[in-house]
Protein backbone atom coordinates (compact mmCIF):
# COMPACT_ATOMS: atom_id res chain seq x y z
CA UNK A 1 0.00 0.00 0.00
CA UNK A 2 2.78 2.37 0.88
CA UNK A 3 4.26 1.64 -2.56
CA UNK A 4 1.13 2.96 -4.26
CA UNK A 5 1.29 6.07 -2.11
CA UNK A 6 4.93 6.55 -3.00
CA UNK A 7 4.21 5.97 -6.70
CA UNK A 8 1.41 8.55 -6.56
CA UNK A 9 3.73 11.06 -4.90
CA UNK A 10 6.47 10.31 -7.46
CA UNK A 11 4.07 10.94 -10.32
CA UNK A 12 3.13 14.35 -8.96
CA UNK A 13 6.64 15.26 -7.79
CA UNK A 14 7.85 16.14 -11.27
CA UNK A 15 4.68 16.96 -13.18
CA UNK A 16 6.44 17.94 -16.33
CA UNK A 17 8.22 14.64 -16.61
CA UNK A 18 5.01 12.69 -16.09
CA UNK A 19 3.23 14.87 -18.59
CA UNK A 20 5.93 14.26 -21.18
CA UNK A 21 5.69 10.49 -20.72
CA UNK A 22 1.91 10.62 -20.88
CA UNK A 23 1.88 12.83 -23.93
CA UNK A 24 4.21 10.42 -25.76
CA UNK A 25 1.58 7.72 -25.26
CA UNK A 26 -1.25 10.19 -25.86
CA UNK A 27 0.03 11.27 -29.28
CA UNK A 28 0.98 7.69 -30.17
CA UNK A 29 -2.65 6.65 -29.70
CA UNK A 30 -3.96 9.62 -31.66
CA UNK A 31 -1.56 8.98 -34.53
CA UNK A 32 -2.24 5.32 -34.87
CA UNK A 33 -6.00 5.75 -34.51
CA UNK A 34 -6.18 8.54 -37.06
CA UNK A 35 -3.87 6.74 -39.50
CA UNK A 36 -5.95 3.61 -39.19
CA UNK A 37 -9.20 5.49 -39.44
CA UNK A 38 -8.13 7.27 -42.63
CA UNK A 39 -6.81 4.10 -44.14
CA UNK A 40 -9.96 2.08 -43.37
CA UNK A 41 -12.15 4.99 -44.37
CA UNK A 42 -10.38 5.44 -47.69
CA UNK A 43 -10.66 1.75 -48.46
CA UNK A 44 -14.31 1.81 -47.51
CA UNK A 45 -14.90 4.79 -49.79
CA UNK A 46 -13.01 3.07 -52.59
CA UNK A 47 -15.17 -0.03 -52.29
CA UNK A 48 -18.27 2.10 -52.13
CA UNK A 49 -17.16 3.92 -55.27
CA UNK A 50 -16.36 0.70 -57.07
CA UNK A 51 -19.55 -1.14 -56.27
CA UNK A 52 -21.59 2.03 -56.72
CA UNK A 53 -20.15 2.18 -60.20
CA UNK A 54 -22.03 -0.72 -61.61
CA UNK A 55 -21.93 -4.00 -59.76
CA UNK A 56 -23.52 -3.12 -56.41
CA UNK A 57 -22.48 -4.89 -53.20
CA UNK A 58 -24.52 -8.00 -53.93
CA UNK A 59 -26.29 -9.31 -57.00
CA UNK A 60 -28.97 -11.95 -57.07
CA UNK A 61 -28.78 -14.00 -60.23
CA UNK A 62 -30.12 -17.19 -61.70
CA UNK A 63 -27.63 -19.98 -61.02
CA UNK A 64 -25.39 -20.24 -64.07
CA UNK A 65 -25.91 -16.68 -65.26
CA UNK A 66 -22.50 -15.48 -64.13
CA UNK A 67 -20.71 -18.09 -66.22
CA UNK A 68 -22.91 -17.65 -69.25
CA UNK A 69 -24.39 -14.18 -69.29
CA UNK A 70 -27.26 -14.67 -71.68
CA UNK A 71 -30.93 -13.83 -71.38
CA UNK A 72 -31.86 -17.50 -71.34
CA UNK A 73 -30.23 -17.63 -67.89
CA UNK A 74 -32.36 -14.79 -66.55
CA UNK A 75 -34.59 -15.01 -63.48
CA UNK A 76 -38.25 -14.30 -63.01
CA UNK A 77 -38.68 -10.88 -61.40
CA UNK A 78 -41.69 -10.89 -59.13
CA UNK A 79 -43.05 -9.01 -56.13
CA UNK A 80 -42.56 -12.08 -53.99
CA UNK A 81 -38.85 -12.21 -54.87
CA UNK A 82 -38.60 -8.52 -54.12
CA UNK A 83 -40.28 -9.05 -50.73
CA UNK A 84 -38.03 -11.99 -49.98
CA UNK A 85 -34.87 -10.00 -50.62
CA UNK A 86 -36.06 -6.88 -48.81
CA UNK A 87 -36.90 -9.05 -45.80
CA UNK A 88 -33.21 -9.48 -45.09
CA UNK A 89 -31.70 -6.97 -42.68
CA UNK A 90 -29.08 -4.54 -43.90
CA UNK A 91 -30.60 -4.20 -47.41
CA UNK A 92 -30.52 -0.53 -48.26
CA UNK A 93 -31.88 -0.57 -51.82
CA UNK A 94 -32.41 -3.10 -54.58
CA UNK A 95 -32.85 -2.74 -58.28
CA UNK A 96 -33.69 -5.28 -61.00
CA UNK A 97 -31.75 -5.22 -64.25
CA UNK A 98 -32.23 -6.89 -67.59
CA UNK A 99 -29.07 -6.69 -69.60
CA UNK A 100 -27.86 -8.20 -72.82
CA UNK A 101 -25.52 -7.45 -75.65
CA UNK A 102 -26.99 -6.14 -78.86
CA UNK A 103 -25.98 -4.23 -81.92
CA UNK A 104 -26.78 -0.55 -81.93
CA UNK A 105 -26.97 1.40 -85.12
CA UNK A 106 -27.36 5.02 -86.05
CA UNK A 107 -28.10 4.14 -89.66
CA UNK A 108 -24.61 4.04 -91.10
CA UNK A 109 -22.56 3.09 -88.07
CA UNK A 110 -23.14 -0.03 -86.02
CA UNK A 111 -21.58 -0.81 -82.65
CA UNK A 112 -21.88 -3.62 -80.16
CA UNK A 113 -23.25 -2.45 -76.83
CA UNK A 114 -24.69 -3.63 -73.56
CA UNK A 115 -28.34 -2.63 -73.34
CA UNK A 116 -29.48 -2.53 -69.72
CA UNK A 117 -33.11 -2.35 -68.69
CA UNK A 118 -33.47 -0.60 -65.34
CA UNK A 119 -36.02 0.67 -62.91
CA UNK A 120 -34.76 4.27 -63.12
CA UNK A 121 -35.48 5.38 -59.54
CA UNK A 122 -34.32 2.19 -57.85
CA UNK A 123 -31.20 1.99 -60.01
CA UNK A 124 -30.25 5.49 -59.01
CA UNK A 125 -30.58 4.52 -55.35
CA UNK A 126 -28.08 1.71 -55.83
CA UNK A 127 -25.59 3.16 -58.30
CA UNK A 128 -26.34 6.89 -58.42
CA UNK A 129 -26.94 6.58 -62.15
CA UNK A 130 -28.80 9.86 -62.29
CA UNK A 131 -25.68 11.71 -61.15
CA UNK A 132 -23.85 10.48 -64.23
CA UNK A 133 -26.25 12.32 -66.49
CA UNK A 134 -24.31 14.83 -68.51
CA UNK A 135 -26.88 16.05 -71.00
CA UNK A 136 -30.60 15.67 -71.45
CA UNK A 137 -32.97 14.17 -68.93
CA UNK A 138 -33.00 11.03 -66.83
CA UNK A 139 -35.28 8.06 -67.59
CA UNK A 140 -38.69 7.69 -66.05
CA UNK A 141 -40.18 4.28 -65.48
CA UNK A 142 -41.99 3.09 -68.59
CA UNK A 143 -40.19 5.50 -70.91
CA UNK A 144 -39.74 4.34 -74.49
CA UNK A 145 -36.46 6.20 -74.68
CA UNK A 146 -32.83 5.42 -74.14
CA UNK A 147 -29.83 6.80 -72.25
CA UNK A 148 -26.50 6.40 -74.01
CA UNK A 149 -23.04 6.63 -72.54
CA UNK A 150 -20.96 9.45 -73.93
CA UNK A 151 -18.42 7.29 -75.75
CA UNK A 152 -21.10 5.21 -77.42
CA UNK A 153 -22.99 8.29 -78.59
CA UNK A 154 -19.77 9.74 -79.99
CA UNK A 155 -18.93 6.58 -81.89
CA UNK A 156 -22.41 6.45 -83.36
CA UNK A 157 -22.25 10.21 -84.04
CA UNK A 158 -25.53 10.79 -82.30
CA UNK A 159 -26.76 13.34 -79.81
CA UNK A 160 -29.95 14.08 -77.88
CA UNK A 161 -33.30 13.35 -79.56
CA UNK A 162 -31.66 11.31 -82.33
CA UNK A 163 -32.93 7.79 -82.87
CA UNK A 164 -30.91 4.65 -82.29
CA UNK A 165 -31.75 1.23 -83.69
CA UNK A 166 -31.10 -1.83 -81.60
CA UNK A 167 -30.99 -5.33 -82.97
CA UNK A 168 -29.99 -8.50 -81.26
CA UNK A 169 -31.26 -11.75 -79.92
CA UNK A 170 -33.88 -11.86 -77.21
CA UNK A 171 -35.12 -14.34 -74.67
CA UNK A 172 -35.49 -17.93 -75.94
CA UNK A 173 -34.45 -17.12 -79.47
CA UNK A 174 -36.83 -14.21 -79.96
CA UNK A 175 -35.71 -11.42 -82.23
CA UNK A 176 -34.85 -8.22 -80.42
CA UNK A 177 -35.36 -5.13 -82.52
CA UNK A 178 -36.37 -1.66 -81.51
CA UNK A 179 -35.76 2.02 -82.07
CA UNK A 180 -35.59 4.64 -79.37
CA UNK A 181 -35.00 8.37 -79.12
CA UNK A 182 -31.98 9.38 -77.04
CA UNK A 183 -33.21 11.05 -73.88
CA UNK A 184 -29.93 11.59 -72.11
CA UNK A 185 -26.17 11.16 -72.30
CA UNK A 186 -24.32 9.61 -69.38
CA UNK A 187 -20.66 9.86 -68.53
CA UNK A 188 -18.61 7.11 -66.96
CA UNK A 189 -14.94 7.53 -66.11
CA UNK A 190 -14.00 3.99 -67.03
CA UNK A 191 -13.66 3.76 -70.82
CA UNK A 192 -14.95 0.20 -71.08
CA UNK A 193 -18.25 1.28 -69.54
CA UNK A 194 -18.34 4.68 -71.17
CA UNK A 195 -18.08 3.15 -74.65
CA UNK A 196 -20.70 0.47 -74.50
CA UNK A 197 -23.49 1.04 -71.97
CA UNK A 198 -27.02 2.03 -72.84
CA UNK A 199 -30.01 2.17 -70.51
CA UNK A 200 -33.68 1.55 -71.20
CA UNK A 201 -36.51 1.45 -68.71
CA UNK A 202 -37.13 -2.10 -67.53
CA UNK A 203 -40.50 -2.57 -69.30
CA UNK A 204 -39.03 -1.26 -72.56
CA UNK A 205 -36.08 -3.65 -72.32
CA UNK A 206 -38.36 -6.56 -71.44
CA UNK A 207 -40.44 -5.81 -74.52
CA UNK A 208 -37.35 -5.40 -76.70
CA UNK A 209 -35.90 -8.73 -75.62
CA UNK A 210 -39.24 -10.54 -75.46
CA UNK A 211 -38.50 -11.28 -71.80
CA UNK A 212 -41.64 -10.30 -69.95
CA UNK A 213 -41.28 -10.15 -66.15
CA UNK A 214 -37.68 -11.21 -66.32
CA UNK A 215 -34.45 -9.76 -65.04
CA UNK A 216 -30.87 -10.94 -65.40
CA UNK A 217 -29.84 -9.69 -61.98
CA UNK A 218 -31.04 -7.85 -58.92
CA UNK A 219 -28.48 -5.35 -57.67
CA UNK A 220 -28.37 -4.64 -53.95
CA UNK A 221 -26.79 -1.91 -51.87
CA UNK A 222 -26.23 -2.27 -48.14
CA UNK A 223 -26.61 -0.12 -45.06
CA UNK A 224 -23.40 -1.45 -43.54
CA UNK A 225 -20.81 -2.86 -45.90
CA UNK A 226 -18.96 -4.51 -43.02
CA UNK A 227 -21.84 -6.96 -42.69
CA UNK A 228 -21.51 -8.09 -46.33
CA UNK A 229 -20.80 -11.75 -45.57
CA UNK A 230 -23.59 -12.03 -42.98
CA UNK A 231 -26.07 -10.49 -45.40
CA UNK A 232 -25.07 -12.86 -48.20
CA UNK A 233 -25.45 -15.84 -45.88
CA UNK A 234 -28.89 -14.58 -44.85
CA UNK A 235 -29.91 -14.09 -48.48
CA UNK A 236 -28.68 -17.55 -49.45
CA UNK A 237 -30.94 -19.05 -46.80
CA UNK A 238 -33.93 -17.11 -48.04
CA UNK A 239 -33.54 -17.64 -51.77
CA UNK A 240 -34.74 -20.56 -53.87
CA UNK A 241 -32.08 -23.03 -54.83
CA UNK A 242 -32.14 -21.80 -58.43
CA UNK A 243 -30.91 -18.37 -57.41
CA UNK A 244 -27.49 -17.32 -56.21
CA UNK A 245 -26.27 -14.27 -54.31
CA UNK A 246 -22.91 -12.96 -55.47
CA UNK A 247 -20.85 -10.35 -53.66
CA UNK A 248 -18.77 -7.74 -55.40
CA UNK A 249 -15.79 -9.79 -54.29
CA UNK A 250 -17.03 -12.74 -56.34
CA UNK A 251 -17.72 -10.50 -59.30
CA UNK A 252 -14.50 -8.48 -59.20
CA UNK A 253 -11.79 -10.84 -57.95
CA UNK A 254 -9.06 -8.71 -59.56
CA UNK A 255 -10.05 -5.77 -57.33
CA UNK A 256 -9.91 -7.97 -54.25
CA UNK A 257 -6.44 -9.09 -55.31
CA UNK A 258 -5.35 -5.51 -55.79
CA UNK A 259 -6.71 -4.58 -52.37
CA UNK A 260 -4.84 -7.43 -50.74
CA UNK A 261 -1.59 -6.08 -52.15
CA UNK A 262 -2.48 -2.60 -50.98
CA UNK A 263 -3.44 -3.96 -47.60
CA UNK A 264 -0.02 -5.54 -47.25
CA UNK A 265 1.71 -2.26 -48.09
CA UNK A 266 -0.42 -0.44 -45.56
CA UNK A 267 0.46 -3.01 -42.94
CA UNK A 268 4.15 -2.39 -43.45
CA UNK A 269 3.59 1.34 -43.15
CA UNK A 270 1.65 0.70 -39.97
CA UNK A 271 4.48 -1.36 -38.49
CA UNK A 272 6.84 1.49 -39.29
CA UNK A 273 4.48 3.82 -37.48
CA UNK A 274 4.49 1.56 -34.43
CA UNK A 275 8.27 1.49 -34.54
CA UNK A 276 8.33 5.28 -34.60
CA UNK A 277 5.91 5.40 -31.69
CA UNK A 278 7.98 2.88 -29.76
CA UNK A 279 11.09 4.98 -30.16
CA UNK A 280 9.23 8.05 -28.99
CA UNK A 281 8.07 6.34 -25.83
CA UNK A 282 11.44 4.73 -25.31
CA UNK A 283 13.10 8.14 -25.56
CA UNK A 284 11.03 9.56 -22.70
CA UNK A 285 11.73 6.47 -20.62
CA UNK A 286 15.48 6.76 -21.11
CA UNK A 287 15.34 10.42 -20.17
CA UNK A 288 13.40 9.58 -17.05
CA UNK A 289 15.85 6.89 -16.02
CA UNK A 290 18.84 9.20 -16.47
CA UNK A 291 17.06 11.89 -14.46
CA UNK A 292 16.13 9.55 -11.63
CA UNK A 293 19.35 7.55 -11.51
CA UNK A 294 20.66 9.36 -8.43
CA UNK A 295 17.35 9.11 -6.62
CA UNK A 296 17.04 5.39 -7.28
CA UNK A 297 20.64 4.68 -6.44
CA UNK A 298 20.17 6.39 -3.14
CA UNK A 299 16.97 4.50 -2.34
CA UNK A 300 18.75 1.24 -2.93
CA UNK A 301 21.75 2.39 -0.92
CA UNK A 302 19.40 3.26 1.94
CA UNK A 303 18.18 -0.33 1.87
CA UNK A 304 15.12 -0.39 -0.37
CA UNK A 305 14.76 -3.83 -1.88
CA UNK A 306 15.12 -3.96 -5.66
CA UNK A 307 11.88 -5.97 -5.82
CA UNK A 308 9.97 -3.17 -4.12
CA UNK A 309 11.60 -0.61 -6.37
CA UNK A 310 10.57 -2.61 -9.47
CA UNK A 311 7.02 -2.82 -8.19
CA UNK A 312 7.08 0.94 -7.63
CA UNK A 313 8.17 1.54 -11.21
CA UNK A 314 5.51 -0.87 -12.57
CA UNK A 315 2.78 0.99 -10.70
CA UNK A 316 4.04 4.31 -12.00
CA UNK A 317 4.29 3.06 -15.61
CA UNK A 318 0.91 1.36 -15.64
CA UNK A 319 -0.67 4.51 -14.36
CA UNK A 320 1.08 6.75 -16.88
CA UNK A 321 0.50 4.45 -19.85
CA UNK A 322 -3.17 3.79 -19.11
CA UNK A 323 -3.90 7.45 -18.46
CA UNK A 324 -2.06 8.43 -21.64
CA UNK A 325 -3.95 5.81 -23.63
CA UNK A 326 -7.37 6.78 -22.33
CA UNK A 327 -6.67 10.46 -22.90
CA UNK A 328 -5.41 9.64 -26.40
CA UNK A 329 -8.52 7.63 -27.23
CA UNK A 330 -10.76 10.35 -25.86
CA UNK A 331 -8.99 12.91 -28.01
CA UNK A 332 -8.87 10.76 -31.15
CA UNK A 333 -12.60 10.07 -31.27
CA UNK A 334 -13.54 13.65 -32.20
CA UNK A 335 -10.61 13.76 -34.64
CA UNK A 336 -11.79 10.61 -36.44
CA UNK A 337 -15.35 11.92 -36.55
CA UNK A 338 -14.07 15.21 -37.88
CA UNK A 339 -12.32 13.45 -40.78
CA UNK A 340 -15.37 11.35 -41.39
CA UNK A 341 -17.49 14.44 -41.84
CA UNK A 342 -14.79 16.60 -43.43
CA UNK A 343 -12.75 14.21 -45.58
CA UNK A 344 -9.27 15.25 -46.66
CA UNK A 345 -9.32 16.29 -50.30
CA UNK A 346 -6.26 15.47 -52.31
CA UNK A 347 -5.20 17.05 -55.56
CA UNK A 348 -2.37 16.43 -57.97
CA UNK A 349 -2.10 13.61 -60.47
CA UNK A 350 -3.57 11.06 -58.11
CA UNK A 351 -6.58 13.21 -57.40
CA UNK A 352 -7.12 13.82 -61.08
CA UNK A 353 -6.95 10.11 -61.86
CA UNK A 354 -9.55 9.57 -59.17
CA UNK A 355 -11.84 12.20 -60.57
CA UNK A 356 -11.48 10.95 -64.10
CA UNK A 357 -13.10 7.77 -62.89
CA UNK A 358 -15.90 9.78 -61.41
CA UNK A 359 -14.71 9.12 -57.86
CA UNK A 360 -14.50 11.89 -55.30
CA UNK A 361 -10.81 12.52 -54.55
CA UNK A 362 -11.18 12.38 -50.78
CA UNK A 363 -9.84 10.44 -47.83
CA UNK A 364 -12.63 10.13 -45.29
CA UNK A 365 -12.04 8.82 -41.77
CA UNK A 366 -13.71 5.70 -40.51
CA UNK A 367 -15.28 5.63 -37.06
CA UNK A 368 -15.61 1.90 -36.81
CA UNK A 369 -15.34 1.12 -33.04
CA UNK A 370 -12.85 -1.67 -33.72
CA UNK A 371 -10.24 0.85 -34.81
CA UNK A 372 -10.31 2.65 -31.43
CA UNK A 373 -10.03 -0.29 -29.14
CA UNK A 374 -7.56 -2.21 -31.31
CA UNK A 375 -5.21 0.77 -31.72
CA UNK A 376 -5.62 1.77 -28.06
CA UNK A 377 -4.79 -1.77 -26.99
CA UNK A 378 -1.77 -1.98 -29.29
CA UNK A 379 -0.26 1.25 -27.97
CA UNK A 380 -1.07 0.18 -24.40
CA UNK A 381 0.81 -3.09 -24.86
CA UNK A 382 3.63 -1.25 -26.57
CA UNK A 383 3.90 1.17 -23.64
CA UNK A 384 3.81 -1.57 -21.01
CA UNK A 385 6.35 -3.63 -22.92
CA UNK A 386 8.71 -0.68 -23.14
CA UNK A 387 8.42 0.03 -19.42
CA UNK A 388 10.23 -3.24 -18.88
CA UNK A 389 13.33 -1.28 -19.80
CA UNK A 390 13.49 0.70 -16.50
CA UNK A 391 12.96 -2.55 -14.61
CA UNK A 392 15.97 -4.06 -16.36
CA UNK A 393 17.99 -0.97 -15.52
CA UNK A 394 17.01 -1.21 -11.84
CA UNK A 395 17.97 -4.87 -11.69
CA UNK A 396 21.42 -4.08 -12.94
CA UNK A 397 21.79 -0.92 -10.89
CA UNK A 398 24.90 -0.45 -8.80
CA UNK A 399 24.02 2.21 -6.18
CA UNK A 400 27.57 3.57 -5.91
CA UNK A 401 27.89 4.09 -9.64
CA UNK A 402 24.38 5.41 -9.85
CA UNK A 403 25.03 8.09 -7.23
CA UNK A 404 28.30 9.21 -8.74
CA UNK A 405 27.80 12.68 -10.20
Amino acid sequence: MWLIKLAWKNIWRNRNRTLISMSAIFFAVIFSVVANSLWKGTFGALIQNLVGYYSGYIQIQQAGYWDEQVLDNSLEWSDSLKAEISGENNIDALSPRLESFALMSSGDITKGCLVVGIDPMRESEVTQLQERLKKGRYLESGDQAILLTEGLAEQLQLSLEDTVYIIGQGFHGATAAGKYPIKGILKYGAPDLNNRLAFLSLPAAQELYGAENRATSVVISLHDQNLLEETVLGLKKRLDSGLVAMTWKDMMPEIVQHMKTDHFTMQIIQYLLYLLIAFGIFGTLTMMMVERQFEMGMLIALGMKKGNMILLMVIESVFTVITGCLAGLAASIPVAFYFKNNPIRFGGEFGKAYERFGFEAVMPGSTEPGIFWSQGLIVLCLGLLLSLYPLYKILRMDPVKAMRR
Binding site: D72, S105, T110, Y165, I167, G173, T175, A177, G178, K179
Partner: protein, 215 residues
Protein backbone atom coordinates in the same frame (compact mmCIF):
# COMPACT_ATOMS: atom_id res chain seq x y z
CA UNK B 1 -35.22 -29.58 -103.39
CA UNK B 2 -32.88 -27.34 -105.30
CA UNK B 3 -34.93 -26.86 -108.44
CA UNK B 4 -34.43 -23.79 -110.52
CA UNK B 5 -37.01 -21.96 -108.51
CA UNK B 6 -38.86 -23.10 -105.45
CA UNK B 7 -41.43 -21.76 -103.06
CA UNK B 8 -41.62 -23.47 -99.72
CA UNK B 9 -43.82 -23.03 -96.70
CA UNK B 10 -42.22 -24.50 -93.64
CA UNK B 11 -42.19 -24.67 -89.92
CA UNK B 12 -38.98 -24.46 -87.91
CA UNK B 13 -38.86 -25.62 -84.34
CA UNK B 14 -35.90 -24.68 -82.17
CA UNK B 15 -35.50 -27.17 -79.35
CA UNK B 16 -33.41 -26.33 -76.29
CA UNK B 17 -33.05 -28.17 -72.96
CA UNK B 18 -35.46 -25.85 -71.15
CA UNK B 19 -37.59 -24.37 -73.90
CA UNK B 20 -38.61 -24.62 -77.51
CA UNK B 21 -39.90 -22.19 -80.06
CA UNK B 22 -41.70 -22.49 -83.36
CA UNK B 23 -41.62 -20.30 -86.44
CA UNK B 24 -43.61 -20.43 -89.65
CA UNK B 25 -41.97 -19.07 -92.72
CA UNK B 26 -42.07 -18.88 -96.48
CA UNK B 27 -39.03 -19.21 -98.64
CA UNK B 28 -38.68 -18.24 -102.27
CA UNK B 29 -35.50 -19.21 -104.02
CA UNK B 30 -34.05 -19.04 -107.48
CA UNK B 31 -30.90 -20.91 -108.37
CA UNK B 32 -28.13 -20.64 -105.84
CA UNK B 33 -27.96 -16.86 -105.79
CA UNK B 34 -31.38 -15.61 -104.80
CA UNK B 35 -33.51 -16.38 -101.80
CA UNK B 36 -36.15 -14.53 -99.83
CA UNK B 37 -37.35 -15.65 -96.42
CA UNK B 38 -40.47 -14.22 -94.80
CA UNK B 39 -41.31 -14.95 -91.16
CA UNK B 40 -45.06 -15.39 -90.67
CA UNK B 41 -45.26 -16.35 -87.05
CA UNK B 42 -44.78 -15.87 -84.07
CA UNK B 43 -46.63 -12.57 -84.03
CA UNK B 44 -43.78 -10.49 -82.66
CA UNK B 45 -41.50 -11.57 -85.49
CA UNK B 46 -44.11 -11.43 -88.22
CA UNK B 47 -42.97 -9.62 -91.33
CA UNK B 48 -39.25 -9.98 -90.71
CA UNK B 49 -37.69 -10.68 -94.08
CA UNK B 50 -34.30 -11.96 -95.14
CA UNK B 51 -33.00 -11.50 -98.65
CA UNK B 52 -30.01 -13.36 -99.94
CA UNK B 53 -28.37 -11.97 -103.03
CA UNK B 54 -25.14 -13.65 -103.90
CA UNK B 55 -22.97 -13.38 -100.81
CA UNK B 56 -25.01 -10.64 -99.16
CA UNK B 57 -27.78 -11.03 -96.67
CA UNK B 58 -30.22 -8.22 -96.06
CA UNK B 59 -32.67 -8.13 -93.24
CA UNK B 60 -35.89 -6.09 -93.16
CA UNK B 61 -37.25 -5.52 -89.66
CA UNK B 62 -40.74 -3.99 -89.62
CA UNK B 63 -40.48 -2.67 -86.02
CA UNK B 64 -37.39 -0.71 -87.04
CA UNK B 65 -38.68 0.15 -90.51
CA UNK B 66 -35.13 -0.51 -91.57
CA UNK B 67 -33.23 -2.75 -93.89
CA UNK B 68 -29.98 -3.97 -92.47
CA UNK B 69 -27.17 -5.63 -94.31
CA UNK B 70 -25.83 -8.30 -92.01
CA UNK B 71 -22.20 -7.47 -91.22
CA UNK B 72 -19.58 -10.18 -91.72
CA UNK B 73 -19.16 -10.37 -87.94
CA UNK B 74 -22.72 -11.59 -87.58
CA UNK B 75 -22.52 -14.27 -90.24
CA UNK B 76 -21.36 -16.96 -87.85
CA UNK B 77 -24.11 -16.19 -85.35
CA UNK B 78 -27.29 -18.09 -84.91
CA UNK B 79 -30.02 -17.34 -87.40
CA UNK B 80 -33.24 -16.41 -85.56
CA UNK B 81 -32.13 -18.41 -82.53
CA UNK B 82 -31.93 -21.70 -84.43
CA UNK B 83 -28.98 -24.01 -84.97
CA UNK B 84 -28.50 -22.48 -88.39
CA UNK B 85 -26.04 -19.66 -88.78
CA UNK B 86 -26.56 -16.65 -90.97
CA UNK B 87 -23.74 -18.07 -93.01
CA UNK B 88 -25.86 -21.12 -93.82
CA UNK B 89 -28.18 -18.80 -95.73
CA UNK B 90 -25.54 -17.51 -98.12
CA UNK B 91 -23.37 -20.52 -98.56
CA UNK B 92 -23.08 -20.72 -102.28
CA UNK B 93 -20.60 -23.52 -102.64
CA UNK B 94 -21.41 -26.06 -105.26
CA UNK B 95 -21.71 -29.67 -104.17
CA UNK B 96 -20.17 -30.67 -107.47
CA UNK B 97 -17.54 -28.03 -108.20
CA UNK B 98 -16.11 -27.28 -104.80
CA UNK B 99 -15.51 -30.76 -103.40
CA UNK B 100 -13.44 -33.88 -103.99
CA UNK B 101 -15.72 -36.88 -103.67
CA UNK B 102 -15.06 -40.45 -102.64
CA UNK B 103 -17.44 -43.33 -101.99
CA UNK B 104 -17.67 -44.91 -98.56
CA UNK B 105 -19.43 -48.09 -97.46
CA UNK B 106 -23.10 -48.31 -98.32
CA UNK B 107 -25.60 -48.05 -95.51
CA UNK B 108 -29.31 -48.38 -94.77
CA UNK B 109 -31.35 -45.37 -93.64
CA UNK B 110 -35.16 -45.37 -93.15
CA UNK B 111 -35.11 -48.80 -94.75
CA UNK B 112 -33.54 -47.43 -97.88
CA UNK B 113 -30.12 -48.47 -99.16
CA UNK B 114 -27.86 -45.45 -99.35
CA UNK B 115 -24.57 -44.43 -100.89
CA UNK B 116 -22.12 -42.89 -98.47
CA UNK B 117 -20.13 -40.09 -100.01
CA UNK B 118 -17.20 -38.35 -98.36
CA UNK B 119 -16.81 -34.81 -99.55
CA UNK B 120 -13.61 -32.86 -98.89
CA UNK B 121 -13.63 -29.24 -100.00
CA UNK B 122 -11.05 -28.19 -102.56
CA UNK B 123 -8.40 -25.86 -101.15
CA UNK B 124 -9.68 -22.82 -103.02
CA UNK B 125 -13.34 -23.40 -102.15
CA UNK B 126 -14.95 -21.08 -99.59
CA UNK B 127 -16.32 -23.82 -97.36
CA UNK B 128 -16.23 -23.67 -93.58
CA UNK B 129 -16.28 -27.42 -93.05
CA UNK B 130 -13.26 -29.71 -93.02
CA UNK B 131 -15.19 -32.56 -94.58
CA UNK B 132 -18.71 -33.86 -95.00
CA UNK B 133 -20.22 -37.29 -94.93
CA UNK B 134 -23.38 -37.47 -97.00
CA UNK B 135 -25.73 -40.44 -97.25
CA UNK B 136 -27.87 -40.46 -100.34
CA UNK B 137 -30.72 -42.81 -101.10
CA UNK B 138 -29.77 -45.02 -104.06
CA UNK B 139 -33.19 -45.08 -105.66
CA UNK B 140 -34.64 -41.61 -105.28
CA UNK B 141 -31.43 -39.63 -104.60
CA UNK B 142 -32.63 -38.07 -101.37
CA UNK B 143 -30.03 -36.71 -98.96
CA UNK B 144 -31.04 -38.55 -95.80
CA UNK B 145 -28.12 -38.05 -93.47
CA UNK B 146 -25.17 -35.65 -93.37
CA UNK B 147 -22.33 -35.23 -90.95
CA UNK B 148 -20.43 -31.96 -90.81
CA UNK B 149 -16.83 -32.06 -89.60
CA UNK B 150 -14.65 -29.07 -88.81
CA UNK B 151 -11.08 -28.59 -89.97
CA UNK B 152 -9.71 -30.55 -87.02
CA UNK B 153 -11.84 -33.51 -88.06
CA UNK B 154 -14.26 -33.05 -85.13
CA UNK B 155 -17.89 -33.85 -85.76
CA UNK B 156 -19.87 -30.60 -85.37
CA UNK B 157 -23.36 -31.04 -86.77
CA UNK B 158 -25.56 -33.93 -87.82
CA UNK B 159 -28.43 -33.53 -90.25
CA UNK B 160 -31.11 -36.20 -90.42
CA UNK B 161 -33.94 -36.27 -92.94
CA UNK B 162 -37.23 -38.08 -92.41
CA UNK B 163 -40.70 -38.63 -93.84
CA UNK B 164 -40.13 -38.79 -97.60
CA UNK B 165 -43.32 -37.72 -99.36
CA UNK B 166 -44.52 -36.31 -102.64
CA UNK B 167 -44.47 -32.52 -102.40
CA UNK B 168 -44.69 -30.23 -105.42
CA UNK B 169 -44.56 -33.28 -107.64
CA UNK B 170 -41.27 -34.64 -106.25
CA UNK B 171 -40.39 -37.25 -103.69
CA UNK B 172 -38.45 -35.39 -101.03
CA UNK B 173 -37.82 -35.71 -97.31
CA UNK B 174 -40.25 -33.41 -95.56
CA UNK B 175 -38.75 -33.30 -92.10
CA UNK B 176 -35.19 -32.47 -91.16
CA UNK B 177 -33.33 -32.08 -87.93
CA UNK B 178 -30.02 -30.37 -87.32
CA UNK B 179 -28.25 -31.56 -84.20
CA UNK B 180 -25.21 -29.69 -82.91
CA UNK B 181 -23.13 -32.49 -81.45
CA UNK B 182 -21.46 -30.58 -78.63
CA UNK B 183 -24.64 -29.19 -77.14
CA UNK B 184 -26.80 -31.61 -75.23
CA UNK B 185 -30.54 -31.85 -75.81
CA UNK B 186 -30.46 -29.22 -78.47
CA UNK B 187 -31.64 -29.35 -82.05
CA UNK B 188 -33.57 -27.59 -84.77
CA UNK B 189 -36.41 -29.28 -86.60
CA UNK B 190 -37.61 -28.18 -90.00
CA UNK B 191 -40.85 -29.37 -91.57
CA UNK B 192 -41.96 -28.67 -95.14
CA UNK B 193 -45.66 -27.94 -95.41
CA UNK B 194 -46.03 -26.92 -99.02
CA UNK B 195 -43.60 -26.82 -101.91
CA UNK B 196 -44.01 -25.44 -105.41
CA UNK B 197 -41.22 -26.08 -107.91
CA UNK B 198 -40.21 -24.29 -111.05
CA UNK B 199 -42.80 -21.59 -111.10
CA UNK B 200 -41.04 -18.66 -112.77
CA UNK B 201 -40.00 -15.86 -110.40
CA UNK B 202 -38.63 -12.63 -111.83
CA UNK B 203 -35.19 -11.49 -110.63
CA UNK B 204 -36.82 -8.23 -109.54
CA UNK B 205 -38.71 -10.15 -106.87
CA UNK B 206 -35.45 -10.55 -104.98
CA UNK B 207 -34.96 -6.85 -104.37
CA UNK B 208 -34.50 -4.85 -101.20
CA UNK B 209 -37.60 -2.85 -101.99
CA UNK B 210 -39.73 -5.91 -102.38
CA UNK B 211 -38.74 -7.14 -98.91
CA UNK B 212 -41.14 -4.64 -97.38
CA UNK B 213 -44.04 -5.60 -99.58
CA UNK B 214 -44.21 -9.36 -99.68
CA UNK B 215 -46.76 -11.07 -97.49
Amino acid sequence: MRGNTSQVEMNIKTIRPSWSREMDLRVWSKGNDFAMILIQSPARDRGITFLKRGKEVWNWIPTLEKTIKLPPSMMSQSWMGTDFTNDDLVRESSVIRDFEHSLGTDTLILGRPCHTIWMVPKPEAAVVWGKLMVCIDKKDFMELHTRFYDEEGQLVNIMNAYDPALLGGRLIPTRFEIIPVEKRNQKTEMRYKKVVYDQPIADGFFSINNMKNIR
